[in-house]
Subunit: 471 residues, 2 copies
């Protein structure tokens, strides 16, 4: 009879849980229902997010607000059931935008037109009077290479839009973002004086989108900025109409000395396997525009809410649930590196790690870099996860922060619907009103259910995964 039941359950896509001997322990479906209903009814993560956005606001690495946010989060974790909370010191880059960011187009017929731009994160500034130079407009890096003789002394404009035809907006982002990240290096190699890009966004408005850019030691540093979508369209019209266009770019950005910020860590110690850790995290820092509501305020309040849901529902996890809010994801990953170094020496095992850094939208799935055999075991949990509208678990990346954790066999990323994310991302559009309470909270619940299943289930690990793999 018991075997028959097993077979039937397997047929329906369930795996049997080893839920210990306590027959009064609620079923995973009961826990899933409770997490969803509590999250939707109480909207705790949403209220934290409003508080974060209104009392602290944007919290770029190196800023005072990033330190305030760390204390804010630690206080909340302490008050919401974490039995151990600490700040982990991290020296982070300190870039400041300054007050000036201007692009003026001189059409050559006496007409000048200012266009909306944002300095890219990490750029140097221009001289106070700006850089005035003719423009070379390029579709992509191939055209840069082909026309490299024409670049010296000019300002390069990479007009590479995110591809609207791609359903997965992260794929379109991945393709377009290389001009933001590497554009300055590539253009400076051929003698460009500055670089401009079309904002990497899906929203066609006048709000420019920032994000990290990098320099190489071997290449001269040149300033870099992004035009809003509308500004890029206007710029193109002016370039089409007036062949001798020049522009003046003024940026007052500066790179200051590294400064002290913190990762925030709070955990609920596991009852049976306290040395097996499940990380649930997001990144504490944001860009200095908007208030980082989706990126990654949503992720951090969801991660905090997972801990809080265990506390409010009085669930004592078998494994240790650890909320980690990483600093400096946006421009350096110093928080992730510091945490990874700590994990190597801590003497405990990272059983699993989950990150939310794709916005606070309605749930779709989880992506994981775990081994296929592990993936298959997790996919058997979908009936529970569907309670929070999770439809799939697939192979894929986990996230910029948790991916660095060493010797962790199950790394995963929460994947909400991605159609609206890049409307907000890295811009003044990314404010609290753009986050929907029910969408955000279904995400909290989805992550909570996944955390619970990871905590209470013994996934069969491929032999040799790590020292805990064979029990």
């Amino acid at each position: 009879m018991e075997r028959l039941t097993s077979v039937i359950l397997l047929l329906f896509g369930f795996t049997l849980f080893a839920f210990g001997q306590n027959s009064q322990k609620p079923s995973p479906q009961t826990i899933a229902n409770q997490m969803v209903q509590t999250a939707l009814a109480e909207r705790q993560a949403y209220r934290w997010l409003e508080d974060l956005c209104t009392t602290i606001g944007p919290r770029l690495s190196g800023s005072k607000a990033a330190v305030q946010a760390a204390h804010w989060a630690a206080d909340i974790l302490t008050a919401n059931g974490a039995d151990t909370v600490w700040l982990q010191p991290v020296m982070v880059p300190h870039w400041v935008r300054g007050s000036v960011e201007e692009l003026t187009v001189h059409a050559g017929n006496g007409h000048s037109e200012p266009l909306s731009i944002t300095a890219l994160g990490g750029t140097i500034g221009t001289p106070p009077e700006g850089i005035t130079a003719p423009v070379i407009r390029l579709k992509n890096f191939d055209e840069l290479k082909a026309r490299r003789q024409e670049v010296a002394g000019k300002i390069v404009f990479f007009d590479f839009p995110m591809d609207a035809k791609k359903v997965n907006t992260f794929r379109a982002y991945g393709e377009a973002v290389q001009y933001r990240v590497f554009g300055a290096i590539r253009a400076a190699r051929y003698g460009a004086r500055a670089v401009l890009i079309r904002s990497v966004t899906t929203r066609y408005d006048d709000v420019p989108h920032t994000g990290v850019m990098i320099y190489a030691d071997s290449v001269r540093k040149i300033p870099a900025a992004a035009l809003s979508w509308q500004a890029a369209d206007t710029f193109n019209r002016l370039l089409d109409q007036h062949p001798n266009v020049t522009v003046t770019l003024r940026l007052s950005a500066q790179i200051l000395a590294d400064t002290l910020n913190y990762n925030v860590i709070g955990e609920i110690r596991g009852t049976e396997r306290p040395d097996e850790i499940i990380v649930v995290g997001g990144h504490l820092d944001s860009w200095d525009v908007g208030c980082g509501a989706h990126d990654d305020g949503a992720g951090i309040v969801q991660a905090m809410e997972v801990l809080s849901l265990f506390h409010r529902l009085q669930i004592r996890p078998k494994r240790t649930i650890r909320c980690v809010l990483f600093i400096n994801e946006e421009n350096g990953s110093r928080g992730a590196r510091t945490y990874a170094d700590f994990a190597k020496t801590e003497g405990r095992m990272h059983y699993a790690a989950m990150e939310s850094d794709r916005g606070g939208f309605t749930p779709r799935g989880f992506t994981t870099s775990a081994d296929s055999a592990i993936l298959a075991q997790m996919q058997a949990w979908l009936p529970y996860l569907r309670t929070a509208r999770i439809e799939w678990i697939r192979k894929g990346g986990s996230g910029a922060d948790v991916s660095r954790i060493p010797n962790c066999p199950i790394k995963m990323g929460y994947f909400p619907d991605d159609q609206r994310y890049f409307d907000f991302h890295h811009s003044n559009n990314d404010v609290f009103s753009g986050v929907h309470p029910r969408e955000l909270e279904l995400g909290s619940a989805a992550m909570g259910i996944m955390t619970y299943l990871l905590s209470e289930t013994d996934i069969q690990m491929p032999t040799g995964t790590n020292r805990y793999s064979t029990h």
Copy 2:
């Protein structure tokens, strides 16, 4: 070898298509890709929706705008590949809100407070001086029955909120909406003078939500209105603090004589089975608040876009694709009844009918009332439908309009994500800016792919389904 291929395809959840002998016909996956990419890149439905909202606006049955909208849609269908377009006359109810809708709470200590309300659709007005009466607040119909002796001469306030804990917002809506629809009849039976409800919404703001209410011939007609969520909260505080609260309700709503409106019908004649019709539709009318952007502007531009996608992609469907925009879904279903009567006498078969009337949000699935054997065949199409982010096809309702079509074996409703819909529904929140272009267009593409698969595939119908069922 061919058998092996079949087996493999079946194992992966595909069914083989009978795509005729023409090997140059594109594969369903190619069509799916084209529909998604075209919809996302061109945003045609979105641009039509903007035009509808800005040039015509709300289009309540009986209004001139509803007639304008019919001509607007017919012109677009004619210009976008429909080979036959006509307006189908429908006599519809004609209710008007008038300019007065006021609720004033008299706390009994000299303090009076106005609260945000909206007349419910179909309500009678009050006398010009309003109705002033004490209030009885009730949780639900059970409490109404229990306290029926206290109701006479009072204004009943049904304070039944939509249940935030339910993940499926349509379920929460179905539970709460009965107070809006039947509240006046139920309260009037016990002598109530008017009825007030808490708006049926998921959004906690000061915008009240309207919607249809009905009277019974045997029961005295009393006026009915909805308070915004915030107004209902304020009302509750006043009721708690001041036991002798009275209120004055003033509504200038009127029921006028029925008037002439139109269904809009446009079709692309099938090349092989022109007498087998696939309806794709939404409803042309809206409430008179907001501009009916999600309800159901989204549905009608998606249905129009399906026809247009066939035209722009030069797909000649085997079956006839018919876009039907039904009038008067909101308060009478006269358009659906007229179309159903027409279908009975037309002498053609309705092979399938699909409706979009749950907002223009990111795709999730389709619900269908079709037989299980038919459902299973459609579920085999999911690999194609996933191109537009459709994850499932399930048993469920089709829609208020297409459900009336007689002898149609495959009726279905498009089911987008439902977390935000009732924020907008039937209120001044339901304007164009609340619709996201990518979410709307993925829906157009999802419906287009489904329409294509229905058109080109011969679903095995259960014997006796109708006269076309056995071929």
